[in-house]
């Protein structure tokens, strides 16, 4: 398993959405993409997922460019959850999660015992077993978000690309999702790239943090280095201080003028 982005440049209507983006993912690594709105996080994830073909550079999985992979083969290796996907009408939680198994069943195959187990596991992991029969449109924003995460999990890919998976969740479920990512890494050696807004959550779970701004990669490395760089204050135009405790992750305390 080796997903690697080399010099990936994406332009939208002349504007450079992503400039020479590079990322080399190790097995079971968690990488957090952070940056202001419109900094290129989503573009980077879409390029990694093979959904955006770069104008320059390439994303390579097992030495083969992702755009050359068959979507179904790729889907067994790599699962991507876009930001706030639309839920179709008249679909239950379980039906959605079952669609996550498409990469394994194909157009005509039935659902095997293995598929059912994966669906049950995904529902269980996202705390949705009790809601599995509910209509997607009848769920709260957070429940729906978790249903989509479950669908991505059911795919059982070893690379998970998530675009702001915690955005609609309350703090309890945010923590639950982040813990789930850590557990997936620990128990299944899943590699995770996650775009996330909460800097402290990013620093708590990620092995590596990539800071993007206007398509440029400003920083790529561990939370310690990010704290020392002073880039957070300049990029986000905030005042604040990093706090280091003897145990536990680094914490950024933003100063709010009142």
């Amino acid at each position: 398993m080796h997903l690697k982005a080399v010099d990936v440049t994406v332009r939208y209507a002349g504007r450079c959405a992503l400039d020479a983006f590079a990322l080399d993912l190790g097995l079971g690594e968690i990488v957090a993409l952070i940056g202001p709105n419109g900094s290129g996080k989503s573009t980077a994830l879409r390029a990694l997922a093979g959904l955006t073909v770069p104008d320059k550079g390439d994303v390579v999985l097992d030495r083969r460019p992702v755009r050359a992979w068959k979507r179904r083969e790729l889907a067994r290796r790599l699962s991507f959850l876009p930001q706030a996907p639309l839920s179709p009408d008249g679909m239950s939680v379980e039906q959605l999660v079952r669609h996550g198994r498409f990469a394994h069943t194909g157009l005509l195959g039935g659902y095997s015992m293995r598929d059912r187990e994966a669906v049950a596991w995904a529902l269980e992991s996202t705390d949705l077993a009790d809601l599995s029969d509910r209509d997607l449109r009848a769920l709260s924003g957070g429940e729906r978000q978790r249903a989509w995460i479950a669908a991505a999990l059911a795919q059982e890919a070893d690379i998970l690309l998530l675009d702001e998976p915690t955005s609609f969740l309350d703090i309890g479920h945010q923590v639950e999702v982040l813990e789930l990512l850590c557990r997936l890494r620990r128990e299944r050696q899943v590699t995770v790239v996650v775009a996330i807004h909460d800097l402290n959550q990013a620093m708590a779970i990620a092995d590596r943090i990539v800071l993007l701004d206007k398509g440029q990669t400003l920083f790529s490395g561990a939370a310690d280095g990010l704290a020392d760089s002073g880039l957070i204050e300049t990029t986000f135009a905030v005042n604040g201080a990093f706090e280091r405790k003897p145990a536990g992750p680094i914490y950024f305390n933003a100063h709010i003028a009142t």
């Binding site: 959904l51 979507r71 996907p85 639309l86 039906q95 669609h99 498409f102 990469a103 194909g106 795919q155």
Partner: protein, 345 residues
């Protein structure tokens, strides 16, 4: 969402199949028994058993039955095409006009009649025998060409459901304007046949029309089971369905081809009965609820039933001057569309 709709969605789809499956043959029987020509029931039964007078045989065997069958097939075509297009464009208002099918067919038929009739005789006030036998083929080809044109345009702009719809609306409006321009500039006696075709009609549809439609019906319905899971996944946004592992473009295109084939052939034969393609899939979705697998079979059944029923009503209510079926389906469908508006609120 309102709780009663949720309740409806959880009903097994089989419950709606049973009354429908019963209604369909009843309507079929009524459509054969009833008509402008007042044949006694006994005589109709005689004909069906292989006897009856020559006149009755003619009315039943060469007028009523092929007309009813044409209606059933056209109903299936429009309804299924509508359901497919609504699914892949993720637009609840999509119908065969989205792919420019009816506008392309209208233009082709207008141009064809223009050259076939006007080209031969420029006198606007004489009514010539119109080459009606060619209309289904010309209409179907016009519809398919329009569909291909719109598809090509959408592909060149990076094929997506929204681009497809926008290209369809733009090209469709252009084709429609061209056809209207020709009709208005041309005027006169030939107006009528085009207007009649535009209103959608099953008048004087015979076995040749059944034979024309049947290959499309069979091919379309045989392919559908294989497209079931693609369709289920095409309900998602492109990013999502591709991430789940679907070859989006290929499957999107396949479904479009099936939808265009069904719609164009039917438009050629009976004219743009577009309302069927718009309304029937919604009704089927309400009845099917969460059972996505039931949507297409229900759509086909409902489409056949609706067109058959509307044609029967048009034949009976209008007397000798029958009401065009397009008018009847619009009258029947409009209230239902208003009902749907409440549902989507």
């Amino acid at each position: 969402m309102k709780p009663e709709i949720l309740g409806g969605a959880e009903k097994p789809a089989s419950r709606s199949f049973i009354p429908l499956a019963a209604l369909c043959p009843l309507l079929l029987l009524a459509a054969i028994l009833l008509g402008v020509a007042d044949l006694p029931v006994g005589e109709v039964v005689d004909v069906l058993l292989g006897g009856g007078s020559e006149n009755a045989q003619l009315i039943i065997g060469t007028i009523r039955i092929p007309r009813i069958l044409t209606g059933i097939l056209a109903g299936i075509h429009f309804a299924v095409a509508g359901a497919l297009l609504q699914t892949v464009t993720r637009n609840p208002l999509a119908d065969p006009t989205v792919m420019g099918i009816s506008q392309g067919a209208t233009l082709a038929i207008t141009v064809f009649l223009f050259f076939a009739v006007y080209g031969v005789n420029a006198d606007a006030n004489t009514l010539y025998a119109l080459p009606v036998a060619w209309l289904p083929l010309v209409g179907a080809l016009g519809g398919l060409v329009a569909g291909a044109l719109i598809y090509g345009l959408a592909v060149s702009r990076g094929l997506s459901a929204l681009r497809m719809t926008l290209c369809g609306i733009a090209i469709g409006a252009l084709l429609h304007a061209l056809a209207m321009g020709i009709i208005v500039g041309w005027g006169s006696a030939r107006f009528e046949i085009i207007m009649q075709w535009l209103a959608g009609s099953l008048y004087a549809r015979g076995w040749e029309h059944v034979v024309f439609l049947l290959p499309f019906t069979i091919a379309g319905l045989l392919v559908l089971p294989f497209l079931h899971r693609s369709l289920a996944l095409l309900r998602f946004e492109e990013d999502v369905s591709r991430s789940f592992g679907l070859n989006y473009r290929l499957n999107f295109t396949l479904v479009l081809v099936v939808a265009c084939g069904l719609a164009a052939s039917a438009v050629g034969v009976v004219g743009p009965l577009i309302f069927v393609g718009l309304v029937v899939p919604h009704l089927a979705k309400v009845l099917a609820g969460r059972h996505f697998a039931a949507v297409l079979p229900l759509t086909a059944l409902l489409g056949a039933t609706l067109v058959m029923g509307a044609d029967l009503a048009g034949r009976l209510l209008g007397g000798a001057e029958e009401i065009p079926i397009g008018v009847v389906t619009a009258f029947a469908g409009a209230p239902f569309l208003l009902f749907l508006l409440r549902r989507y609120r």
